[in-house]
Amino acid sequence: MSLLPLPKQFDQNEWFIIISIGVLVLLLIFLPKRFPTSITILLITFSMAIARVVDHLLAGPSINFYDVLDSGKYELFDLLCYVPYAPFAYIFVYIYDHWKIKGLYTSFYILVFSLMGIGFEWLTTTPLIEFFKYHNWKIVYSLPIYLVIQPITLCFYHLINKFHDDSLKKNTIASAD
């Protein structure tokens, strides 16, 4: 018995995680800086934590919806397997902020990204990656999850941005006095 088992074999799903980490690093290096460091860290942490909590809550005592990676156990690579959500969430907020999407376009934007998320998730279930192994889950069930999580991500972004700006203003005024 091991507390954090190593992968049964180091195969495509582990490589998928490593490549995702690489993509995230490249995005952070090469995309023009749009957000303060604290906001970027919060966005990345939020996307990983929310994915972790949703996965954890869906793992019930009597039903197994899906396994992530090689087994139903929590492996060492499971700690890193939430990293692939981070570049996705970062790009999602980055484009939203860059194009200043507003009004009804926001709903359309969320729908497009949710469908892209579904497409990406489908790709991770194929033998090419084998990241998710569905048992009592169908890919269509993920659509409402994306449609809930993505508006929450945008609300979270607006909220932390407001807190950041308010604190910055307050601090600037205080130091000027």
Partner: protein, 177 residues
């Protein structure tokens, strides 16, 4: 009180679902009180730091539970759905908020001696929550030793302090605090 009413009351109290529903209602109420408190409390810790620490706790605490329950099987969680919901409420809401309150308490300008005293109090408080769950048969220890709980709560409080300190440094550099 008529005889008929008495019979109805006896039947209700003898229903096996009764105590479980009381436990569930109690824990949901406790979590709602804590959520209300954390939102309404006049915070001394910067809000962005609190959000970051909360996300980190959620990620690592749910991971810890997966390791202890699913991998090592040190804790055996009740198969009853309502008990399982209580367990999830405790791990995702109650315990993280209790840990966040620790940050609020030690943020006040008190001496190191008092800060250490509060750390001991908080470890005992977290241990009390854990013991309450055990005494209510929400989960049971299998190969777990009580001393390990103290060590785990100490490490989590340490994680809280470290993440707070790191994030505060970033905010200070950005001029937010």
């Amino acid at each position: 009180m008529t005889g008929n009413n008495l019979v109805i009351i006896q039947k209700t109290s003898n229903t096996p679902k009764g105590p479980i529903m009381i436990k569930l209602a109690g824990f949901i109420s406790l979590s709602l009180i804590l959520i209300n408190s954390i939102f309404t409390y006049k915070k001394k810790t910067p809000i962005l730091t609190l959000i970051f620490v909360w996300l980190v706790i959620e990620f690592f605490f749910t991971s810890f539970i997966s390791v202890i329950v699913d991998n090592a099987e040190y804790w055996k969680v009740s198969k009853n759905t309502k008990d399982f919901i209580i367990f999830r409420v405790a791990e995702v809401i109650v315990i993280p908020i209790v840990m966040l309150f620790y940050l609020e308490v030690i943020h006040a300008k008190i001496s190191v001696k008092f800060k250490m005293m509060f750390a001991v109090i908080w470890i005992l408080l977290l241990f009390c929550v854990e013991s309450l769950l055990v005494s209510l048969d929400i989960f049971n220890y299998t190969k777990w030793q009580i001393g390990w709980s103290i060590a785990v709560w100490f490490l989590f409080l340490l994680l809280v302090l470290l993440t707070q300190s790191l994030f505060n440094k970033i905010l200070r550099r950005e001029g937010v605090i």
